[in-house]
Symmetry: C2
């Protein structure tokens, strides 16, 4: 795997924000689909040891989403949020995010897709209501799960590109 | 007016966040109403020189809002967002916020109501996707409009408390 497919995570000390940059070998329209179609998103989101089920994903202004993840022991963890605006290649995706196990700690995520020569750079920003909430998220092991999820997404995108 | 009714605005240099603390002489249930009922909110939001019209305010999980403000010259400015979760006295209000004149600069607002002896302290936090977007908002003169809006809200709350 080339270095260009690695994920860059930027977290300044004491900041409310977390920045992610990741390049994918697929056009932006496909990146949008794997972030807004529940049957596709359930195939890559999170580490390999977890399975994901979407109860709902309404990818439009005011639409809601909720997904559940579980591992071998069957313990379920649920996450939910709402969409601000209609997701699109041009505007990206703006959505809230809350882990139901820590209710009230809501963050706001912005995803932007920048296509160049058939490849797409994803710019993802999360801002948290408090610096502590961001640091809790980092301490939860999210970085490892994110990296593994994006590797699964590389594999899914390769399959989808062949199918088309 | 006593000092306890003044607005405290906290903005750390280089931070994505803006914190507001303001005490009102009304119970939390009434504070919730004036933040979620469009006919009430249109009576106090913003400086006195502007009028406000709500096109929509759906105060529930995934609900959308849009309001328009205009002054003497008739120029209209519109703002919109979505609600994360159902607004309530216990959970407060979580909502996105976007000025349509600067599309893409979306912030996330958290309002919490803390009642004590019939009075309520409002804790409001806004986090912006970039520090620059927060600083643009500060430079727009929002602080003056906010202070005047909260003075209008004091007057509205006094009228509503007498009516009940």
């Amino acid at each position: 795997m080339s270095t260009s497919t690695k994920t860059q995570l930027t977290v300044e000390p004491g900041s409310h924000a977390m920045e992610i940059v990741r390049e994918f070998d697929a056009p932006a329209a496909l990146l949008l689909r794997v972030h807004t179609e529940p049957e596709l998103m359930a195939q890559w989101l999170g580490p390999r040891r977890l399975q994901t089920r979407f109860d709902r994903l309404e990818a439009h202004d005011g639409g809601r989403y909720r997904f559940v993840q579980w591992g071998e022991d069957g313990t379920e963890h649920a996450f939910r949020g709402v969409f601000h605006g209609d997701p699109s290649v041009e505007d990206g995706i703006r959505q809230t995010f809350e882990y139901e196990g820590a209710p009230g700690h809501v963050s706001f995520q912005t995803l932007a897709f920048e296509e160049h020569d058939g490849r797409t750079t994803l710019h993802a920003t999360s801002v948290f209501t408090t610096v502590q909430a961001r640091d809790m998220m980092l301490a939860s092991g999210m970085e490892g799960g994110m990296n593994e999820g994006y590797e699964r997404l590389d594999e899914l995108l390769a399959r989808l590109t062949v199918d088309e």
